[in-house]
Symmetry: C2
């Protein structure tokens, strides 16, 4: 079965967390919206009145007849099928719990440039963004990164869960890559305090399939339409 | 087995979504932090260096040896055990997908009064809150409520998933109850456009165990420390 991934074609965004899992798994998939006419196809499917279980927003994954929405939910599904999560119930729940904490972190990253509303431009909420990013870089980013550092310290294997890579390691890789793009100065300082998180990022980047993917045109560049945006005035 | 729920004792907050599921299930549980010395016990457990899988934040649920964090993850676990979710993989994933959309909605509710940072008082971000709540009430709340209205319309059973109540129905009940508390005027208008959502709220409130629970002192009152806060200046 070939998966169909549906996500906005111009950005890494939340879709990237799914792409990284599919790539690491070596799974066959089509990135539907990046093909000609693909965005229209995505929107038609999403809004089809015949769909009994419509997704709220991209990304969603078509797996045979299943249509699965919400990033963490897609990873929960893929994790079990491709050896990217433990088999035990405890292990699956713990991996998913960490993924949901990544999701919380990601909302806060996004809101650094959109503290007032997703419907407004960044330019219309710049002053509020400056205030919010101050709190984020001083309090929130260290709290989240510190948490994952602590989990790595307790687990002692170099991975967040068990003895081998899971989908949440791929997601933490993406968080570090994104934060480095958005806040290069701040992340230099933050990196020093979170050596295990940085080391995990580096080891994920060296995985053969991930390395190939990151060097390919399939990996979109970070840009100022996505979740991680480089606005120098916000990199305090 | 008696569950132990750990959550801040002064507020409904995210813990309430778990409480509602436990109550509807008729499950035996202790609300640990609401007992004498309970908050200390919660913080000690959360920060215990012996914990291999520490939660990021309350709520978390102790189920035998398992400690499960993240509200939606706890519900995923309880749903399977107490008949509060379908048995099929598709049904479980769909229920969880809706729950994660509730979680996204809830973050946006919270951020109406905390658009700049959780570490600051509301009073220190009042101006930004007024801007954010405008976007929320005009764009975001109708989008989320409209989505759940649409899911109910497509499913045709009065419940969000399948033919009987699941944990996500309980969560949508709580969202409506909270929005009514926080934004009584705005919700009067919004309610008219979302009759199925309101009807679901009313039917959940009449479930025998939920009705008993809501009338008991165990149900904390909404207040201005929680997620849903009544600040008249934000009820546009």
């Amino acid at each position: 079965m070939r998966y169909e991934l549906y996500y906005w074609p111009e950005i890494q965004g939340r879709g990237e967390f799914v792409r990284l899992a599919l790539e690491e798994a070596g799974a066959a998939y089509v990135d539907v919206a990046r093909r000609k006419g693909g965005t229209d196809k995505m929107l038609r499917l999403m809004h089809s009145p015949r769909l009994k279980e419509p997704p709220f927003a991209p990304p969603f994954l078509k797996a045979g007849k299943l249509i699965i929405g919400q990033t963490a939910n897609i990873l929960l599904y893929l994790g079990g099928r491709h050896g990217l999560a433990p088999k035990s119930e405890q292990g699956r729940l713990w991996t998913h719990q960490l993924q949901l904490t990544i999701a919380d972190f990601l909302v806060e990253v996004h809101d650094t440039h959109h503290p007032i509303g997703v419907g407004l431009y960044y330019e219309d909420q710049k002053d509020e963004a400056k205030r919010r990013v101050g709190e984020f870089l001083k309090e929130r980013a260290p709290k989240f990164l510190g948490y994952f550092e602590d989990v790595l310290k307790r687990n002692k294997t170099g991975w967040l869960v068990g003895r081998s890579l899971t989908y949440v390691d791929l997601s933490l890789f993406q968080i570090v890559a994104g934060l480095r793009y958005a806040f290069p100065n701040s992340m230099r300082k933050l990196s020093r305090k979170h050596p295990r998180v940085i080391d995990l990022h580096d080891r994920v980047a060296r995985r053969p399939r991930i390395k190939t993917y990151l060097a390919s045109p399939q990996r979109l560049a970070f840009n100022e339409y996505g979740i991680f945006r480089r606005y120098p005035e916000l990199d305090l």
